[in-house]
Symmetry: C2
Subunit: 352 residues, 2 copies
Amino acid sequence: MAKETAKIAELDERKVKILTAVIRNYLETGEPVGSRTISKYTDLKLSSATIRNEMSDLEELGYIFQPHTSSGRIPTDKGYRFYVDNLMSEKEREIQEKEELIIEKADKLEAVLKQAAKLLATNTNYTALVSTPETHRNKLKFLQLSKVEKDSLLAVIVVEGNIIKNKMIHTEEEIDEDTILKLNLLLNTHLNGLSLEEINLGLITLLKERAGIHTEIVSSVIDAVADAIRADEDLEIYTSGATNMFKYPELMDSGKATDIINTFENKEELEKIVNASLAENNAGKNEMQVYIGKEMASPAMQDCSVVTATYDLGDGMRGTIGIVGPKRMDYEKAMGTMQSLMNQLDEIYKKK
Amino acid sequence: MAKETAKIAELDERKVKILTAVIRNYLETGEPVGSRTISKYTDLKLSSATIRNEMSDLEELGYIFQPHTSSGRIPTDKGYRFYVDNLMSEKEREIQEKEELIIEKADKLEAVLKQAAKLLATNTNYTALVSTPETHRNKLKFLQLSKVEKDSLLAVIVVEGNIIKNKMIHTEEEIDEDTILKLNLLLNTHLNGLSLEEINLGLITLLKERAGIHTEIVSSVIDAVADAIRADEDLEIYTSGATNMFKYPELMDSGKATDIINTFENKEELEKIVNASLAENNAGKNEMQVYIGKEMASPAMQDCSVVTATYDLGDGMRGTIGIVGPKRMDYEKAMGTMQSLMNQLDEIYKKK
DNA sequence: GATTAGCACTCATTCAAGTCGAGTGCTAAC
DNA sequence: GTTAGCACTCGACTTGAATGAGTGCTAATC
């Protein structure tokens, strides 16, 4: 990333113009682009022969390549990267915000996220990907045990951001109302206000000691509650418009579209993407990321690009939204639509 | 369905044998099957010429057809139907139960269902489909309002089968603990033990009257609770192994696989299948259904077959499990695997 | 020294013609 | 009723030529 300026120095102005032309053209058509096309397309009046020489240089520098001898050129990952980093800004600003996405205000977060994914997918013709927010840094806000039946308790847990967790707890013998009251008091005084990740094994054993007499049943209940709190990261990832991948011949024909869609069913692979994005955003400013081809952690995705962003609903609820498309995806449009969606999410949740 | 006996009468024993041979062969290969193949494959020693005549008859009767002049025959929907209804029983019994699926006992129903779907998909190489159980006939078991913050209440609702629903309710002004206590009492005495569908608008207005003084806020809370109870059918449908559809050339090549996978993203279409199955099982005995081609409500699915079954976890929690495959799916295997899964679900939930 | 025109060469794509083989329907013989 | 034989159909595959987009290189031009 620090190489950006170096990269620009590597190319004189004319080379940049030609590279841009090649990429723009390829983004549109998906076909290799030849010197003749460029010589007409650009405003710089140059013959195809000159363009050929320049393109030859660009190939040597690794920005474009030929799929086979004597065919037009196609951008490499490096080419796309250069384009996204340096060449896009002007056009981007124009397009951005043109889109009008409308998210209905649903009161279930899950529903909102699913809708957001669908919206992205249908608007861009790529595949959208949305993760539920991570909550383990959120603080416990409310905790309550209630007796539902003779032998079963219900634990209800609310954390910041109004994420609600439930757990039914079966007990060997009936617990009397009095004990439940005490348990509630105990749990609340010790756990309330702590973040979920702070509620660890040590704390739990401490709690059990405090519980005093009722060791048998009570400790099992406390265990169950702890279980529910840490409920091994119920991260969900929704996708939408997976089959849009079929719309791009370069993926379809080579059979890679199938592989890609397959990995959309694979939570582990998706997590890689989500986590990469979250990590990058944790470190610094809240911006969009673009991962191109091999930059992606997931091997099956190396023929794609992904535009990701981190949404922040306040109360530390952060998750990832992504748009997956072919490498020649319309980055401006994808990023524009994404931005517009983020703004809308912001608006909805800031007002609350 | 009442035509079954008629159907048998329509075909003499030899025709049945030939039809069986055609279908079996086509199920295996996916290629049109010719007279010569049959003449060797079957035990009845007949020349290809005789077979040809018989096949010609079978075509006239609508059990098989030629994709183009002078090519082998392929079963029609009617052919498959005949096969499933009359010809399968012997082989089915042998195969059934061979499979050993192992569902880990998870305590979240959702997790169990997802796992079941995955299991079915990987075992059969088809696409699996699982719906969450319907709950509107279930009875309300527990209802509690709690104050989580100054201006927000949490409603927790438990229905038979330990399905838990939550709803955060924001209030304009703070509600004091006393009122909440009264509300809880009121709601529980009137609603407890009723099935969700019995809690209708009339009952709700009645409740509001009983509430007395606090009309303003209280009624809005009651509304919210009613909302949560009726939470417009939070039916979920999970799919697994959607991309298995790509494994079958007859779907892949014609591009229909894409359409089919598309409809897997479409909840409405899936609901059609689920509901059809539930309806049929509501009426009668608990058996597996097979829908072949046009018998399916969903138009995009007319090149598939679906094997469905209704699971019953007790407490009136019934949902649908389905296996979607090409028409030439291995019905025995699909039904066998399904049966084995159902047995296992039974075991897990009967023991509880 | 940079640019251009011209030319030979490469290589994927397209299309028609030809071959092959699986399969059928029909007729005549068994 | 069954079978053998034969002409015919039609998709699948192969081949080879034509096409055309595109390149690299060289020599002429600015």
